[in-house]
């Protein structure tokens, strides 16, 4: 996956977890929880979906790296480079 695919993958996961939220116009450098309604349980859902869909295991000490969209891209690029995008139906 390239950068665009990773963003698409993250947005798809968030849409699954927080389906009432509008993700358009999000600033990729601002914490996602400040822009949409995401709580700590939702965050654990994101980590779970990364594990289920892509086999990526994010250790707890790295959770802070996933706070912003750009943080997600930077952190996940090495782990998702060889993976294929999987979108929810």
């Amino acid at each position: 996956m390239n950068r665009e695919h990773i963003i698409e993958a993250i947005e798809d996961i968030i849409h699954t977890i927080a389906p009432d939220e509008d993700l358009t116009g999000m600033d990729p450098d601002v914490r996602m929880r400040e822009q949409i309604e995401l709580d700590s349980m939702d965050f654990l859902d994101i980590v779970m979906e990364l594990r289920k869909r892509y086999g990526v295991r994010v250790p707890e000490e790295d959770y802070k790296e996933l706070a912003t969209m750009n943080g997600c891209v930077t952190y996940l690029t090495p782990q998702l480079a060889e993976k294929e995008l999987k979108l929810s139906v």
Binding site: I17, A18, P19, D20, M41, D45, R51, K52
Partner: protein, 412 residues
Amino acid sequence: MSSLPRVVITGVGLTSPNGDNLAEYRAALLAGKSGVEPYHIRYVGDTIAGVCHFDPLRHQKRKALRRGTRAGSIGIYCANEALLDAGLDIEQRDRARIGIYVGITEHGNVETENQVHEVSKYDYDLSFWSHHHNPQTVANNPAGEITLNLQITGPAYTLGGACAGGNLGLIHAVQMLQLGEVDLAIAGGVSESIHTFGIFASFRAEGALAQHADPTKASRPFDKDRNGIVISEGGCLYTVERLEDAQARGAKIYGEVVGHHVNSDATDFVLPLAERQNECIRAALARAGLAAGEIDIVNAHATSTPLGDVQECNALRAVFADSERIHVNNTKSFIGHSMGAAGALELAGNLPSFDDGFVHPTINVENLDPDCDIRGLVLNEPLKVDRIDTILNLAFGMLGINSAVIVKRLQG
């Protein structure tokens, strides 16, 4: 008991396999319309069940729906509908003085089965076990989800009463209102049981799961050819208030809860006991200050099992042998056994009798079992009567729990 405040039902919110509000549900009961349909669940395969078709997004956001349980969702729907029906705006109420009392048969089986199934896809690696499992399976979940949805801060919990749960929720509401613990109660019962394969498998293992080529004819209490229970989901929550509060706000009043009782067989895990059911009914009558001959409708618990129906009929025969006004009906013949919701939901189906003067029937009785041939049975067609003043609602459950609620047309 006369010094205790009088307590009345002022709103009804329900979802049943044959109706998503009281008017639809009542119309189905008078029209003989079943809510049982073909159903498929993992491991069990093709079977039948009573399935509800309410729109959960009417009162719930998609995220809350995804995170919560089916029982929570049913509870949220019923609570909101009851408040609307009662004309109660909780923005104008002290939310700390509202109690939520939800009867359940069981809770957590659905969510646990789902998680075990999920981790089985990952070779039982528990890192795939959901962090939502605990809040979904705590026993107060259905009541707690209602508090989150309505921002109610008063006492909210479930009452585990097997298939008597729905009656227990209502009885507890009456008690808490009489004690002055709350000023408004949202109470009754819910069930998500059709989403656990275990309940189907267990009833099947007991030889107590109904089978019939036509799902709508599978639940047939009192009929000779009955062969077991149809499992259903559903919910019914009432708004319950002290009479003086309800009258002060000009509320519509469905009826007054004048009597109730709960007792235990203390004899068997599964098998019911007519003698203790008899005692439960008599104790509820005594609390209500009514003679057996003053009861107009008995809504029988009968689940369509060969043994259980006979036990209940023996209890009713003993109590109501000389009752000229008695009418006996059964709601499970239409909707199956909605478990924790049953007590509350089945009472709701009869409340309109005070206004329309009809007694809804027990359907699917083609050959009445002589052992179930008791006085006052209303079979297959609704019966128009002059006047209905009192309803006795029965709900019994496993481990020998018996419950009886008596609701009376408001007088005085």
